[in-house]
């Protein structure tokens, strides 16, 4: 089937089985490899993208289910307010291996878009759906606080 998608502000027409997860469409069809595969079950959050600005697990979202929603991936985040989250991530030197960080940043950006000054509970609820094996959680907490406080400085 043919699907029309808007990803990072660009239009794409792709021919794919309707069940194809958005994750693999992004990675293998469109070469947007910043979105990562971690578990395929919505358990780790490495594949997190935005659909109309809301966080979504792309491994659990079929291409057919995207509908008319605008997709934003880590590659397109810098063009949005999410940019300051990326800057805060650099300032706090968050990544170690870095593999999960696209998802972590996308989740944090969606959280901050919804709650400019999130409570610790809101941060905990949003970020506990994601896994980092390198142990960057403490740095992520600091980076979110920094981004919420207004930027990288």
């Amino acid at each position: 089937m043919s699907f029309s998608l808007t990803i990072n502000g660009k239009s794409y027409t792709v021919d794919a089985h309707p069940d194809t997860p958005l994750l693999w469409l992004l990675r293998d069809y469109l070469n947007l490899t910043g979105t990562k595969y971690g578990c395929g079950q919505g358990l780790c959050g490495s594949c997190t993208v935005h659909l109309d600005g809301e966080s979504a697990r792309s491994c659990q979202t079929s291409v057919a289910a995207v509908g008319g929603r605008k997709v934003t991936t880590i590659e397109g985040l810098a063009a949005t307010l999410g940019h300051r989250v990326q800057q805060a991530w650099i300032a706090e030197q968050v990544p170690q291996c870095g593999y999960c960080q696209s998802g972590q940043i996308m989740e944090a950006a969606a959280l901050l878009a919804k709650h400019a000054k999130p409570t610790p509970q809101q941060v905990g609820e949003a970020m506990s759906g994601l896994i980092c094996r390198c142990g960057t959680y403490q740095a992520i907490r600091l980076a979110i606080a920094r981004a919420a406080a207004g930027g990288a400085q």
Binding site: D15, N31, L43, S46, C97, G98, Y137
Partner: protein, 703 residues
């Protein structure tokens, strides 16, 4: 059954864009950059290049898996070079032992074993740049000095950037023994410099193994027998090939590969594959049986690893005796990036892109399959989405190379999370029997520790003299405490469960047993855990230093809020010493919650202190996951866990506050990737034991 694509099919699959795919070719692991530009560059050795535009390129021979080697190793070169750090860029080296020496990234060795070599590399260049400037200016080399990428002659006020000297320096002989800096003059080493790999890791452009894209590539997954040691009995590819996008089905050593024009199509094809397994001789194996066997073996003969005094006699005369059994389970690595590799085998050539900790092993394995000498195999080392020892293997490389060879196209083989968890090489389960004797004054006069565990080397066919695997008693045989009568021995307890190197290897088991048992002894002797250890560490100054630092920084001995308890552990591994204090409380349902961890490390001179602190955080989080919930269990010869729902790891909401303190040192750097891990399980277990009033002797704590 057909295993090869026809040329026509390959050409068609190469033009995957025709099926609605948009392919831009992306090669994250760049080939070795051109060392011959239009203008001559200065390359005194394998490690660095300075071009006339003043750019300093430093090759990193070790694999970046999060530990920061793409920053710390260049810092060492740049220090001795006296480079302008803002002009430094890095390139990952290709696999090439001839050129870069041992590239195995493991055993917390990268900084420690590169230290002298990389200092020399930088110093050679610096000496030659000085000589070139001195020659130009007609002055004595020792009247010149360097600073931040320039050679300076103070007397005449002359100054030249390194780039302008590159051409002249390149013509000079390379000194064998260049003068090294006095560590007092270090201005790069010892600074918490920002990591060079962070920007690419926040915008999605970082190239991990799974991100490799090669023109015409296909994607594969492998159906593997779920039972250890099992094989394919027969398969029928008809239904798999009927899945849209599936290009080929090929038997390989590890199972049956399904190759498609996307990963998703390959996974769908694998679901449709009809395969019958020959489960082999281990189809009845269970964790319970393994545990019983360990207990049985513990009562039998053992190989002595260390013996001092007469522990049996001392135990006989002891006023008080203690005995305890400690047990830990098998563990998976569960790197966030599951195993994968990309390979392209052509007649007479083999190219591999792999997130590997062991590039020369990848070359060997690939070469054997491709029929080439190892050095003819090109291995591009991508970024690693976690390593933790798992990527010191080459099984995932073999999958890709065999599959590419079978279909005659470049193929990326990905292990799904389930594949990764169920076909790992596991941290060995182990069983520890410890005994101690106290005299009438409460002094520790005897200690025995019997380690019963599979031997990683032994299971791979290594010959082990007298049944002793010295690696398996790491942390047990080198117990730092001064005890007059001591015996540590080992019983090899190999099983069909494949085992491998898991962050800190056997120290993760032995530290748990040692440090928890020592707390039992402290309680029996009525001594404070810090005081007991301090008294036994008079001949182990590094251990004592971290113990004292952690006691001070954690506020040991000071009152805690009601319901909070502290636990302590000290352990030396990979030439470093670490002490950790955990603060724990029990939730209403009895679940332990870790609130705070204070860590003290002595790792010699910290090259990048922020990097050291990150590695301590990392080891603590990885070890905490294992201590609280980590457990791989076996039933019917197969792993029962499959994903992060049944192999649970630490999440954000469980993260304690971690504080890291580094013992000041001017000694040569020692390991940091692993040493932060071993103390966390016993520190937490000791705190939980205090909270519960009952000893924790088995991991995971939340079993």
């Amino acid at each position: 059954m057909r295993t090869e694509l026809t040329r026509r099919e390959f050409l068609r699959s190469g033009a995957v864009g025709g099926a609605g795919l948009v392919i831009a070719f992306y090669l994250p692991a760049k080939a070795e950059p051109k060392r011959q530009g239009t203008k001559p560059s200065f390359q005194p050795n394998a490690w660095l290049q300075i071009d006339p535009e003043d750019n300093v390129t430093i090759w990193v021979g070790k694999s970046e898996m999060g530990q920061g080697v793409r920053t710390s190793l260049p810092m060492i070169v740049a220090e001795e070079l006296d480079a302008d750090w803002t002009r430094v860029r890095i390139e990952p080296a290709l696999a090439d032992t001839q050129k870069y020496g041992n590239q195995l990234t493991g055993g917390s060795t990268s900084v420690r074993t590169s230290w002298e070599r990389l200092r020399k590399a930088g110093a050679q260049a610096r000496a030659m740049l000085i000589a070139a400037a001195a020659q130009n200016w007609g002055v004595a080399p020792d009247s010149c000095r360097t600073e931040n990428g320039s050679v300076i002659h103070e007397l005449s006020g002359r100054r030249a950037r390194y780039g302008s000297l590159a051409e002249a320096a390149a013509k000079l002989p390379v000194p064998e023994k260049p003068p090294l800096k006095n560590p007092r003059d270090f201005r790069i080493i010892g600074q918490s410099l920002p990591r060079l790999d962070i920007p690419e890791k926040v915008d999605g452009s970082a190239g991990f193994g799974i991100d490799v894209r090669v023109p015409g590539m296909l994607f594969g997954v492998v159906a593997r027998c779920p039972v250890f040691g099992g094989k394919v009995a027969r398969f029928d590819a008809t239904r798999a090939k009927a899945v849209k996008g599936v290009r080929a089905v090929a038997p390989i050593s590890s199972g049956v590969a399904v190759i498609a024009d996307s990963t998703w199509a390959a996974m769908e094809g694998r679901k449709a594959l009809d395969v019958t397994w020959n489960e082999g001789p281990h189809a009845a194996l269970t964790s319970a049986e393994i545990s019983r066997r360990f207990a049985r073996l513990a009562a039998g003969p053992a190989a002595v690893a260390r013996e001092e005094g007469d522990a049996e006699a001392a135990l006989k005369r002891a006023a008080r005796k203690l005995e305890a059994v400690y047990e830990v389970p098998y563990l998976a690595h569960a790197t966030m990036e599951p195993m994968n590799a990309t390979a392209y085998v052509r007649p007479g050539s083999c190219e591999v892109w792999a997130p590997t900790q062991f590039p020369s092993m990848a070359q060997q394995v690939a070469g054997k399959i491709a029929g080439l000498p190892p050095e003819k195999v090109t291995v591009h080392i991508t970024l690693l989405g976690g390593g933790f020892g798992r990527r010191a293997e080459a099984d995932y490389v073999a999958d890709a190379v065999e599959t590419s060879k079978a279909v005659g196209a470049p193929v990326q083989v990905l292990w799904t999370r389930e594949d990764d968890m169920q076909h790992d090489v596991y941290r060995p389960a182990s069983y520890h029997v410890l005994r101690a004797g106290l005299d009438a004054d409460g002094r520790l006069i005897a200690w025995t520790h019997r380690v019963v565990a599979p031997s990683i080397g032994g299971q791979r066919g290594e010959k082990l003299e007298g049944g002793l695997d010295t690696s398996a008693v790491d942390g047990a045989a080198d117990l730092p405490y001064a005890i007059p009568n001591l015996r540590v021995d080992y019983v090899m307890a190999n099983t069909a469960v494949p085992t491998g190197y898991w962050r800190s290897v056997y120290a993760s088991q032995t530290a748990f047993a040692n440090e928890c048992f020592l707390d039992e002894i402290a309680a029996a002797a009525g001594k404070d855990p810090v005081e007991l250890r301090r008294a036994l560490l008079n001949k182990a100054p590094h251990h004592k230093a971290v113990l004292e630092l952690v006691a001070e920084k954690s506020g040991w001995g000071q009152a805690l809020p009601a319901g909070r308890f502290r636990g302590l552990a000290v352990h030396g591994s990979f030439h470093s010493c670490v002490a950790e204090v955990a603060e724990v409380s029990l939730a209403k349902d009895g679940t332990p919650q870790v609130h705070r961890v204070v860590c003290a490390i002595d790792c010699g001179l910290p090259v990048n202190p922020a990097g050291v602190a990150s590695q301590m955080q990392s080891g603590i989080v990885y070890g905490l996951s294992a201590a609280l919930r980590g457990k791989i269990t076996i039933d019917k010869g197969r792993v029962q866990q499959s994903n992060f729902d049944d192999y649970q790891v630490l999440r954000f909401n469980e993260m304690p506050q971690v504080e890291v303190h580094i013992v000041p040192s001017s000694e040569a750097p020692t390991g940091t990737g692993e040493p932060g891990l071993p103390p966390i399980a016993p520190a937490v277990a000791n705190a939980v034991s205090a909270a519960r009033g009952q000893r924790v002797r088995k991991l995971p704590i939340l079993a």
